[in-house]
Symmetry: C2
Subunit: 429 residues, 2 copies
C-alpha cells in the first residue's frame, strides 16, 4: 500500500471536516485504489485558537507545509483570493499537485494559475469547487469525454435556492426567506456572494473552463441575483406553469463565442431541475451523444465538500503513486470569447405595473410588436384597488437589446407606474 | 498521439452507433486524453447482410478479432449470455481489456467473468451496461470513492418508465401505454425483459457490485414488473401525494446482508426521482459524506450507449497507453449475502376490493392491527355501483412476511372480492 503525504493549509469549517472525515475514507480509498493518504503537515492562521484536536501539531507559516519534503500533495482551504493565490502559486512552483475547494480563486485568478500549472506540469484538482458532493467535474471530464457539449445549466448556489424554495412553498417574501436562511446557517451575515449571484458565477466560470477549455474573464460575466424577486412573481410564474430558480447558463454561440450568465430564470415546472428544492444544487448538460444529463445533490457543507476533496486527493495520490501526470487541462488556452450581453437571445418574463385603464394592454403589446417580439402568453389579474394592476408577459425568443428598447418605450407610457421586472425563461429540454 | 487498436464484435444497432460516432468523438478524446482509437477489426454474424458501410471489411469469426495482434481492446456488442460469454472469456484470457454494454452477461455470468478478469489482471469496462448516457459507474467508482454508500435506488428501465409516465399523464391503462411504447420503438415485440423488471434487475445487480463489491446471484433477486399496475392505482397514488415508478433498490442491512429488489414503488411526488419522465433513467444514492446524489439522463438508444462505450474505450485506451492496470474491482469477492425477501422491511400501499357494507373497513383495519402494522392513511372513494369499492391503505413500516399474513387473512374475509394489489412505498430523502 503506497502512502502519500498530504499538507493541509487552512483549518476552518472545511479543513476541520476534511481532517475529521479522512480516517474512515482512507480505509475505503485503500481498498478501492491501493493508496493511503497521510497528513504530514497542517498550517493554521492562529495555532493558539481553541479547536478540535488535530492529528499533528500545526504550524502558522504555510510556506513550511509546501516546502516539507514529506508533503507530496497540498490542499488549499484558506478561502479568498489573496493568500490563497500565493499558496496556490507556491505549490505549483514546487511541482506539488494542488487540491482546492476555492471557486473564487479559480474563477478570478485562474487566468494566472492554469497556465502556471501547465508550465509546471502539475495538476490542479478542484472537484470541490463546484457543487460540493456532486461529482460533476469528473463526470464531465471522464464520463462524458466523448461528447461535444451543446450547453450546461445549473442551480449552483444553495442559499439562493433555499430562499427561492421558501418563497415558492411557504409564500414568504424575499426578506423573510433570507432571514430564515441566515437563522439556519445557510446564508452568511454578508449575503452578497450568495444572493447577488457572485458565488454562482464563480462556479459557472469553472464549468465553462471544464466544458469548453475557456475560462472567461470574471468581470465580464453578466450576473443578476435574486433580490428583485417578489412573491407575486413566484405566484405568476406558477400560474404560467413555471418555477423561478437562480440559474447559471453556459452555452456555445456560433463557432467561437460562448454565453455565460447567472440570472433568476423561469423553468418549466415539470422539468427535473424544477424539483431541486431547498439548499440542493443541480448541474444539467446536453451532450451530442448522451443527450440531457442532470446531476443533483448537496452543494455545500463540510461533509459534502469533504466527499469531493477526498475524491480529488484519492485521484491525486493515485497519480503520484503511478507517476502519472494527472489532468492538465491541455486546452485551457483555447481561443474563445464571451458574447456581448446585449447580443444574448432568449425568452423573457416581463411584469409591468400599469394604471388600470382601457387601452393600456394594447399600447404595451403594440410596443413589443414594433420591436418584433412575439408574445406567447399574457396574465392580467383582476385589479386590487389603487388603480394599478400588474401586466405579465411571457415573450417569444428575442434579442436582449430589442427587449431593453421595448421596455424603455413602455416605461415612457403615461400609464406605466414602475420599472419593469424582467426575468429569463429557459424551456430546458 | 498514441494510437490504440480496437476490435468490435457485433454490429447491430449499438455497434453501428459506436462505429458512426467514433470519428467525431476521437477528435475530442485525442484533445482531452492524448490517445486515439483505431478500429482494426470488426466481426459480424453475417457479412453478406446489407448495412451501412463499415470502415474496414468485417470478418464472421469473432475469434479472429480477439487474436488479431493489432487489436488491443475488444468491444463485445453481440448481446445475450451465450456467445457473449465465450467472447468475454476469450478476450480476458488473451489479456485484452473488455468493453461491454451487456448487462445480462455481467449480471448472470459475472460470477465467472469477474474472477477471470482478476486472475488475468485484465479489466472489464461496463459503463454502458447501466443507464446508457449517464456516467453513473464512473461517478460511483471515482467521484464518490471516499463515501460509504448507505443505499442506492434507480429508475433504470426506460420502457417501463415510459409506460408508467403515460399512465400518469394521459390516464392510459397499461395495455394502451405498452402499445404506444411499442409503436414508438421503446419496447421490443418481446416485452418481458423490460416490463417484467428483468432488465432493471440486471442493472441493479451491477450497481450492487460497484457499490458493495458483491454480485448477487441473479436468480435470487426478487423482481416484480409493472403489468399489475392499474390506472386506478396511479390515480390513488396521486391523491396520496405519490407517483408510481419501477424502482430498483440496493441497500445494506446490518453488517453483511444486502437487500436488492426491483418492484413498482410509490415515491413522494415532490422528490426529484418522481420528475424523471418518459424513457429517462435516474440513479440515486446516499453517501455518508456526499448525502443524496441523483444522476438523471437517457438510459438507452445507440447515441447514449455510444457516449458510455466511448468513455470506457477512452479510459481503457489511456490505461493501455500508460501501462496502467485499470480498474480491477479488487473486492469483487467480498463476503455478503442477499437478505431473504420475507425479511424485507418497508412501507406498502395495499388496495383491496371489498363489498360496500358497514364494518368492512373496521375488519380490515383490525387485521393490520393484529399484525402490528400501523396505518398511515386510508382512502375509500365513493362506491360506483356493483356493490364493490376499493379500500386503499398506506401502511407504516412493516415486515413483508407480516404483511403477507395480514393480506392472506384479509383475503379470507367474506366481503373481500379480489386479491389485494400490493406496492412498495419508499419515502426517499
Amino acid at each position: 500500500m503506497n502512502k502519500i503525504g498530504i499538507g493541509v493549509i487552512g483549518c476552518g469549517t472545511v479543513g476541520s471536516g476534511l481532517i475529521r472525515n479522512l480516517p474512515k475514507a482512507n480505509a475505503l480509498i485503500g481498498e478501492r485504489l491501493g493508496v493511503q493518504l497521510e497528513i504530514k503537515s497542517i498550517a493554521v492562521r492562529n495555532s493558539a485558537k481553541n479547536r478540535d484536536p488535530l492529528p499533528i501539531t500545526p504550524v502558522e507559516d504555510w510556506k513550511k507545509v509546501i516546502s516539507d519534503p514529506a508533503v507530496q500533495i497540498v490542499v488549499e482551504l484558506v478561502g479568498g483570493t489573496q493568500d490563497a493565490f500565493l499558496i496556490a502559486e507556491a505549490t505549483l512552483k514546487a511541482k506539488k499537485p494542488l487540491v482546492t475547494a476555492n471557486k473564487a480563486l479559480l474563477a478570478e485568478r485562474g487566468q494566472e494559475l492554469f497556465p502556471l500549472a501547465q508550465k509546471s506540469a502539475t495538476p490542479i484538482y478542484f472537484e470541490a469547487s463546484v457543487a460540493g458532493g456532486i461529482p460533476v467535474l469528473k463526470g464531465l471530464r471522464e464520463g462524458l469525454v466523448a461528447n461535444q457539449l451543446l450547453g450546461l445549466h445549473g442551480i449552483i448556489n444553495g442559499t439562493s435556492n433555499y430562499i427561492l424554495s421558501r418563497m415558492a412553498e411557504a409564500g414568504s417574501d424575499f426578506a423573510t426567506a433570507l432571514q430564515q436562511a441566515k437563522d439556519l446557517g445557510y446564508a452568511e451575515a454578508d449575503d452578497k456572494l450568495d444572493v447577488d449571484g457572485i458565488d454562482a458565477a464563480h462556479k459557472a466560470a469553472i464549468l465553462c473552463l471544464l466544458a469548453y477549455g475557456f475560462l472567461p474573464k470574471f468581470s465580464e460575466i453578466p450576473v443578476e441575483g435574486i433580490r428583485k424577486i417578489e412573491s407575486q412573481d413566484v405566484g405568476f410564474a406558477r400560474q404560467l406553469g413555471y418555477v423561478i430558480k437562480l440559474l447559471a447558463m453556459i452555452r456555445p454561440v456560433g463557432s467561437d463565442q460562448i454565453e455565460v450568465r447567472v440570472a433568476p430564470t423561469l423553468l418549466p415546472a415539470r422539468h427535473p431541475m424544477a424539483s431541486v428544492h431547498g439548499a440542493f444544487n443541480a448541474v444539467g448538460l446536453i451532450g451530442n451523444l448522451s443527450g440531457p444529463v442532470q446531476f443533483t445533490g448537496r452543494g455545500a457543507g463540510p461533509d459534502a465538500t469533504s466527499s469531493a476533496l477526498l475524491a480529488d486527493l484519492a485521484e491525486a495520490a493515485k497519480n503520484v503513486s503511478d507517476r502519472s501526470p494527472g489532468p492538465l487541462l491541455q486546452n485551457a488556452a483555447r481561443k474563445a470569447r464571451l458574447i456581448s450581453p446585449s447580443d444574448s437571445v432568449g425568452r423573457f418574463y416581463v411584469r409591468i405595473e400599469v394604471e388600470d385603464r382601457p387601452g393600456v394592454l394594447a399600447q404595451v403589446a403594440g410596443i413589443f410588436g414594433a420591436e418584433k417580439i412575439g408574445i406567447s402568453s399574457v396574465l392580467q389579474p383582476e385589479g386590487h384597488g389603487a388603480g394599478s394592476v400588474p401586466l405579465i408577459f411571457l415573450l417569444e425568443s428575442a434579442l436582449l437589446s430589442s427587449l431593453h428598447r421595448a421596455v424603455a418605450s413602455i416605461a415612457k407610457l403615461p400609464n406605466t407606474r414602475a420599472p419593469a421586472t424582467i426575468l429569463r425563461v429557459e424551456d430546458l429540454t
